[in-house]
Symmetry: C2
Subunit: 323 residues, 2 copies
């Protein structure tokens, strides 16, 4: 692997870098830290554009610089509970102006994958959803039929009639051909049992993303991967994941934007999600930003599986090219 | 490995077999079948003593024969929702007379393990329970302090205050030193989040058993393993399991009965749970019963990891020794 090129304070190199790409995919997710980092009590919510609730200085200006040069900016997030509209509100709340078309979250990624790539023939193209309203909104956007999700009739205890009705199939919708598992704050035994029965009957198994945890309030809570893992364990089947670093998400982004991969750059702070995602997706470049978890030593280690093409100390260093 | 000895219709061999053992451990669990068997629609509830709701002919008489010869009979089950009392009712309902002291279920196994083997010093010996009342009853029997379980205050949606209170620890009991995960029909996001926070703070991780599924109504539902798997996935930590084939269950049985392993025989229908359990436990013998999933061809295959010492076509063939 070639040595990553350091761009900070090198305006010629930055200018060259910016000229090489038309599209920049930005990682927006707080990260799962390594065990030893967790034990030192480091804030788990570090990232590329912000850390926890703190927007990094120069983030907005850097994004504006890219847009002013005609670059396409895409915010990529594994967040599965939010629709693009919900996520735009979050960005606005962080102080980042954005266009809804610039947002690519795993709920939307899932909807795109189902409608434009998987394309199961009707009527057996209905989705059983484990997840919140963000997923439902995006499925509606793509005209994908679904059941489950936030349906209040599933937010209850399992009864003996449920065991019987799931076993004999009378409680199952014969049109369900897909199970989509995202983060569901209302997960329960009835929903997992129902999803399992659909999978046993041959439904395609999808997951918005497989992150086992959700960084929040300076600690972690169960992530979308905690919803799908019992089903993986029961069926021995792995879902197609629609979040980073799964290439199904890259395919979905391409299904939507039809970009030229060779002129696209993935920007992120983690080698084993973001940089991996960009490299395996055959993108023209990857940029590591050192305001996150990854340090230079990580990719200099002989064990490093992924090495970025470029790196900067902080995202706003990219503004050094235009000065 | 030696060739298993076939006892059916060989009264001399049966007599010799019975003389070798003082204690017989009986597997009582319906089994998870192999994928190909599932697809053929075979009844998943086959076993040693019964199949589904059908008691095999001669089961009661065979157990009586053993008892009349002064043998100790122990019913071993991974069922984690039932206390021994609950389980005795189930046996009675099946038509099998039993003494409560003959029953060893994984909820009881867990209680014994905590109180007699783990023996954490008070006050940090409190258990956070993911599970039903059977576990609570058995913990009470052994005077083990616990919280969680069927507590109705945990059967609700997660609130923003819960995220904050779990993150800052104000909702956590500092005396909790153990998380015990069994089958919980009322599992939810709040309970999994709470258990995770205790594990992050160093609680010992136990599971009643790791069966991913629960055979029921001729199909499968999520088993106890479906409750612990999100926590395993989030922490990267494996719990000590108190069900077959984990040797922690054998230790708990020994902690209770103080039997002589060399004069104890495990009776079961599956090579990779029951027979493995007996062999790894260093028991004097193992008996495979062919009314379950395992066929002779399974252990005759060169890939077979475990081979029983003895086998019979059906349990009641053991009566042939006394005729």
């Amino acid at each position: 692997m070639a040595q990553p090129k350091y761009l900070t304070s090198d305006s010629a190199a930055i200018g060259e870098f910016l000229d090489k790409f038309d599209v920049f995919l930005f990682d927006c997710d707080g990260k799962e830290l390594f065990k030893q980092e967790l034990q030192t009590g480091v804030n788990p919510c570090v990232g590329v554009l912000w850390s926890g609730d703190h927007l990094f200085e120069g983030t907005v200006e850097t994004l504006e610089l890219l847009r002013s040069k005609g670059k396409k900016v895409v915010f990529v997030t594994n967040n599965s509970t939010k629709s693009r509209q919900d996520y735009q509100k979050k960005l606005t709340g962080m102080g980042i102006p954005s266009n809804i078309e610039e947002i690519f979250a795993s709920a939307y990624s899932s909807a795109i994958y189902i409608s434009r790539i998987l394309k199961l023939p009707a009527p057996r193209n209905k989705v059983f959803v484990l997840g919140e309203s963000g997923i439902e909104q995006e499925l509606r956007t793509e005209n994908v039929p679904f059941i489950g999700g936030t349906d209040p009739s599933l937010r209850r205890d399992m009864t003996p009639a449920d065991f019987a009705g799931l076993a004999d199939g009378s409680m199952l919708d014969p049109d369900v051909g897909i199970v989509l598992a995202g983060l569901d704050f209302h997960v329960n035994y009835l929903k997992i049992s129902t999803a399992y029965q659909y999978l046993r009957r041959g439904a395609v198994f999808l997951a918005t993303n497989l992150d086992s945890t959700l960084p929040m309030s300076h600690t972690f809570f169960p992530g979308a991967g905690s919803i799908s893992i019992p089903l993986i364990n029961m069926t021995g089947q792995k879902p197609t994941a629609l979040g980073k670093p799964s290439q199904a998400m890259m395919d979905a982004i391409e299904g939507k934007f039809h970009f030229d991969r060779s002129r696209t750059c993935m920007v992120g702070d983690r080698l084993d999600t973001d940089i991996q995602f960009g490299i395996e997706g055959g993108l023209g470049g990857t940029l590591a930003v050192l305001t996150g978890v990854t340090k230079k030593e990580h990719w200099e280690s002989p064990d490093a599986s992924f090495r970025p093409a470029y790196y900067v100390d902080k995202l706003s260093d990219l503004r050094g090219g235009s000065s």
